[in-house]
């Protein structure tokens, strides 16, 4: 593995999380969904939102009576901003970054424009479409903007609600699990299932939060991005690309791998992807790879595509804050090639200081976000 370099300017400012929110099939709001995710309560059911009879697989994790993507993104942003004690007057100079599949039309205009108008925030600055790492890519840019002094506060929103087009593409590509369950890291894993996922996070410079008297929920201690340079869609089998992203995040955070107390893994139940992630963790943690608790919460909420990375960052922050690490749902048969300390059976109590949220996507795009206790 190529040695990563020291990232980021030495004078970088601390980046805090001061507000967050998540929506999954379990409900709206981080306080609502986190207990279900932590307990490993999978939310998959037969799709009734649109016709799936012609498809091979008929299951996904859907929020009953979900609104439009605009409605749900706006609700999530408003809840996150509420937690961060922001209002329109204080948000006038904030930056809003959005991670979605496209700037789709809505009755109120393009999604990006309608969202900022609905939330009373400035116009969306940039729209990320980097598939399953779109949200984490936006977070990394947000952190860079804050750390470098270009912005004091950035709101990042991301979302995907299961719809017919992507569902049909994933089904046609045989990426969905024929057995209707998501089994990350399990020897009998058969693939992914899609799920609703919307999230919003308020990132803020420590000076800005202190000046407003707002409590930090967590520190975004590090972030890293690297590519596989390997294949159109398949991950690099040796995990070197994801490992470089993790090393980058750890270096930014100024900590060693042995200080990481939990990894929220990307694993979505795909045979090749989960194995590549195991290899990446083996490269980073070395002989300690079996000592750090790991779980992929996609086994509970499904794969939310462009919404997934930000959703999983929220889950990771909440796990760190609560000291309760989410169960690895869907784990049925041990994989002899997987040496990880997966969180089995029950949530694990652990007073951790640092946690990683990992994501990988088509095109060999990898991201790692390092969260520290506030």
């Amino acid at each position: 593995m190529r040695e990563p370099r020291s990232p980021g300017p030495a004078t970088a400012r601390r980046v805090l999380v001061t507000g967050l929110d998540a929506l999954t099939a379990h409900g709206r709001g981080a306080a609502v969904v986190q207990p279900h995710i932590t307990a490993g309560r999978a939310a998959f059911s037969t799709v009734d939102r649109f016709a799936v009879q012609r498809h091979r697989v008929h299951r996904a994790a859907l929020l009953p009576e979900a609104g439009t993507l605009l409605d749900e993104l706006a609700g999530s942003v408003q809840r996150a901003c509420g937690q961060a004690e922001l209002d329109v007057r204080t948000a006038a100079r904030d930056v809003l970054l959005l991670a979605v599949h496209s700037d789709e039309p809505t009755p109120q205009g393009p999604l990006s424009r309608a969202l900022s108008a609905r939330c009373g925030l400035p116009a969306v600055t940039r729209l990320y479409t980097t598939a399953c790492v779109a949200g984490s890519t936006a977070v990394a840019d947000a952190a860079a903007l804050i750390a470098s002094g270009r912005a004091d506060r950035v709101v990042v929103a991301a979302g995907y609600l299961v719809e017919p087009i992507q569902y049909a593409l994933f089904d046609a590509g045989r990426a969905l699990a024929r057995d209707g369950e998501v089994r990350p890291f399990s020897a009998d894993r058969r693939g992914a299932l899609l799920g609703d996922g919307v999230a919003a996070v308020v990132l803020e410079a420590a000076e800005s939060a202190a000046a407003r008297g707002v409590q930090a929920l967590a520190v975004l201690a590090g972030w890293g991005r690297a590519g596989d340079a390997h294949h159109v869609v398949r991950p690099r089998p040796d995990g070197a690309g994801l490992a470089r992203a993790i090393e980058c995040a750890l270096r930014r955070g100024g900590i060693g791998a042995d200080q990481v107390g939990y990894v929220n893994a990307n694993a979505n139940g795909a045979v090749l992807g989960d194995s590549a992630e195991v290899e990446a963790l083996r490269l980073v943690f070395g002989k300690g790879v079996g000592k750090v608790p790991v779980s992929s919460t996609k086994g509970v909420h499904g794969h939310a595509l462009e919404g997934s990375a930000l959703l999983e960052l929220v889950v990771t922050v909440e796990a760190l804050r609560s000291g309760r690490l989410p169960v690895q749902a869907g784990l049925r048969a041990p994989d002899p090639q997987c040496p990880l300390d997966l969180v089995r059976d029950l949530p694990r109590e652990s007073a951790i200081r640092y946690a990683l949220s990992l994501n990988s996507a088509f095109g060999g795009a990898n991201t790692a976000l390092l969260v520290g206790a506030a």
Binding site: T129, R150, A168, A172, R225, A229
Partner: protein, 204 residues
Amino acid sequence: MNLVLARELGLSVLACAHWPDGPEDTVTPVPGFILSSFQPLVVEVAQRCLEQRAVADPAVRTGLLLASARGDTVTRAAVAAALAEGRPVAPLLFYQSNPNAVAGHIAARWGLDGPVVCTAPLGAGAEAVLADALGCAALLIEDGDADQVLVIAAEQAEQADQADQADQGDQGDQGDPDHAVALLVAPAAAHRRLVTRERRDQRS
């Protein structure tokens, strides 16, 4: 104009290519990508740009930033049509369900192992799209995850059924044929200073 934009962001342009490059220009099909002109267009302009670079240094981390206001509209329309008519969706279309896939093709072909980022810039017009893409690339380089970035801005010709959506505005160059530009950028020799809105130098 591209050079001016890059220079303003503290970047130097190591190589540059456009498509079309003349009235009779063509695009080479790319095995594995079907129906849509988007992926071959992106590959073509990337190849023309990277062929101009000096010998690649394996120690240099090159990121890839693909910007497109509208993205691959043909693939989405093809899937929608298949669903509406009750036809099966071609399995190969899964591999072009998002812009990352063609970025991965280029990264693998040319050994670009820096970050892969795809954006849908919100400004109107090719210049605004490229400006946003270069700004994103400059941030990647300055933040330290990439030494160079291959920036590609690509738009397909507007489809007839997009006319209504185009009325919502800011969706790129409506009515233009397929077009793309690729720039390989690196930090300019004189490093740009980081200045906050309050004009405070963060590196002093």
